[in-house]
């Protein structure tokens, strides 16, 4: 599936859209980490929780449950929550 990553993670992927696989969000980030080592821990903590101020949209719908199921044709966007300072 297509995954859009924020510019802050471009040092890992070199691209803003990449391909990855997984039947859940958790599995998707495991696959992303296999392809781009180190990426997962910047987004998902050691307890398997999405880090604060990170947002994920699946086909435009906001999701925080890392066990959320995914289909091969889903579009996943990883977004940094808007903030200041």
């Amino acid at each position: 599936m297509r995954v859009m990553v924020p510019a802050a993670l471009r040092s890992y992927t070199r691209e803003l859209q990449v391909e990855a696989e997984g039947e859940t969000l958790d599995a998707l980030f495991t696959d992303l980490d296999r392809r781009y080592p180190g990426l997962r821990f910047r987004v998902v903590d050691e307890q398997g929780q999405l880090r604060a101020n990170m947002r994920i949209f699946v086909n435009g719908l906001g999701v925080r449950d890392m066990q959320h199921g995914l289909a091969a044709d889903d579009f996943v966007a990883v977004v940094l929550a808007l903030s200041g300072g």
């Binding site: 802050a8 180190g38 821990f41 987004v43 903590d45 050691e46 307890q47 929780q49 880090r51």
Partner: protein, 406 residues
């Protein structure tokens, strides 16, 4: 590279070596960690001019940068961003290139069987300490929330110390993240006894001072004599809030401490009943008090130490008392203190110094260095007698370290 205000006549590091057969020139490196990245400042033994190298990791929150004194070239940087999780970056060429740790500090994913302790996640690595001289590649890091981790491969892979992180007793003393300081409770001041790699200390804000004599397998608590906020029981470890511990390099049985409740010294004579911290801050001027964050010890003279007091009244403004910043020095192990403010702003200066943002070099006549919350970098020449600005307009400074390059 560009140059800073005090660097108008900066020379390229190593230039003196090419002109004469004299011994290799001393090269000093200042490592400045800030809320928005890291900067390095280079100079020589005269310390008259500085060349700036940076920013590194622009936009990253850098809690600490340390040089490995065992090789004089390797650097570790504790980093995160406002959004991205914590990690450690490593450089083996003085910052020309960096690699991320393969396995950054992280708590165990699941509590031990039968444990009811809540699982935790590292928010940021806070305090980096190189291991003993006899253990090249070994590092320790203290984190927020409080955790202690060790690496044996130069900082590439980090393992949690279960004796601290998963101990029900330590977890009770640490409390939860909400029980800690506004930007997170910290495990800090990780110290390795220069005589013994198995002898370790650390402090917790809050949660007391602790030591291990078996390399971190087991720990005992060192809080006798330390005061706590009025009305609370000093026998309850969680109430103790050491801000910064230092060991005297040439007299490792002497420790100094800046605490939430005063300045202390501990002289250890080998008998546990005599391990009682003495509040040497009572000799500070009453109008200044003895509250602050950093504590700095002389590289050779165990009777000499410095503090940088802050306002700890009512709501804890955490600014220079009266808007008049000054370091204080003792040359007699805390019997008396002298004010060192020549060159610092005389009034209306409301910055402060965080616990890692003041240090001293090891030159024949040591200089102090401090970084302010307002992004100014200062040198205190002649052991702090004469202050001069090195740089302004940096982001909020979290840590300043100085080292002599190999």
């Amino acid at each position: 590279m560009s140059q800073t205000s005090a660097a108008a006549t900066a020379k390229k590091p190593g230039a003196a070596r090419a002109r004469s057969a004299a011994p290799p020139a001393t090269r000093l490196l200042l490592m400045v960690a800030t809320r928005k990245g890291a900067w390095f400042f280079h100079s020589d033994a005269k310390r008259k001019s500085w060349t700036v190298d940076g920013p590194h990791f622009l936009g990253h929150i850098i809690s600490h940068v340390m040089l490995d004194p065992r090789d004089g070239r390797s650097l570790l940087a504790a980093a995160k961003t406002g959004h991205l999780g914590p990690t450690i970056f490593r450089s083996t060429n003085l910052g020309r290139s960096w690699k991320e740790a393969v396995q950054p500090p992280a708590f165990t994913a699941a509590p031990a069987a039968g444990s009811s302790l809540p699982a935790r996640s590292v928010d940021h690595s806070f305090w980096l300490t190189p291991g003993h001289a006899s253990e090249p590649g070994t590092w320790y890091v203290g984190t927020s929330p409080q955790g202690l981790f060790r690496s044996d491969d130069g900082g590439d892979r980090w393992a949690p110390l279960a004796s601290v992180n998963d101990s029900a007793q330590f977890r009770e003393w640490m409390g939860s993240a909400q029980d800690g300081t506004p930007d997170g409770p910290k495990l800090h001041s990780v110290i390795v006894d220069p005589r013994d790699p198995q002898h370790l200390y650390f402090g917790m804000s809050g949660g007391g001072v602790h030591e291990s004599r078996d390399g971190g397998a087991s720990w005992s608590t060192l809080v006798q004599g330390m005061e706590v906020v009025g009305g609370f029981d000093p026998n309850t470890i969680t109430f103790h809030d050491p801000h910064c511990l230092r060991i005297c390099p040439t007299q490792p049985d002497r420790l100094y401490q800046q605490n939430h409740c005063g300045i202390y010294r501990l002289d250890r004579r080998g008998r546990a009943e005599e391990d009682v911290w003495q509040r040497i801050g009572r000799k500070m001027p009453k109008r200044v008090g003895d509250i602050g964050f950093p504590m700095v010890v002389h590289p050779r003279d165990p009777d000499t130490a410095w503090v940088f007091p802050m306002d700890g009244q009512d709501v804890w403004p955490r600014t220079a008392p009266g808007g008049q910043p000054a370091a204080y020095i003792t040359r007699n192990a805390g019997k008396t203190w002298q004010r060192l403010d020549q060159g610092l702003p005389e009034s209306q200066a409301w910055w402060t110094i965080k616990r890692q943002a003041m240090t001293v070099d090891a030159q024949a006549k040591p200089a102090l260095y401090l970084g302010t919350t307002s992004g100014e970098l200062w040198i205190g020449r002649e052991e702090g007698a004469k202050w001069q600005n090195i740089a302004r307009h940096l982001p909020e400074i979290y840590a300043v370290e100085v080292a002599e390059l190999a």
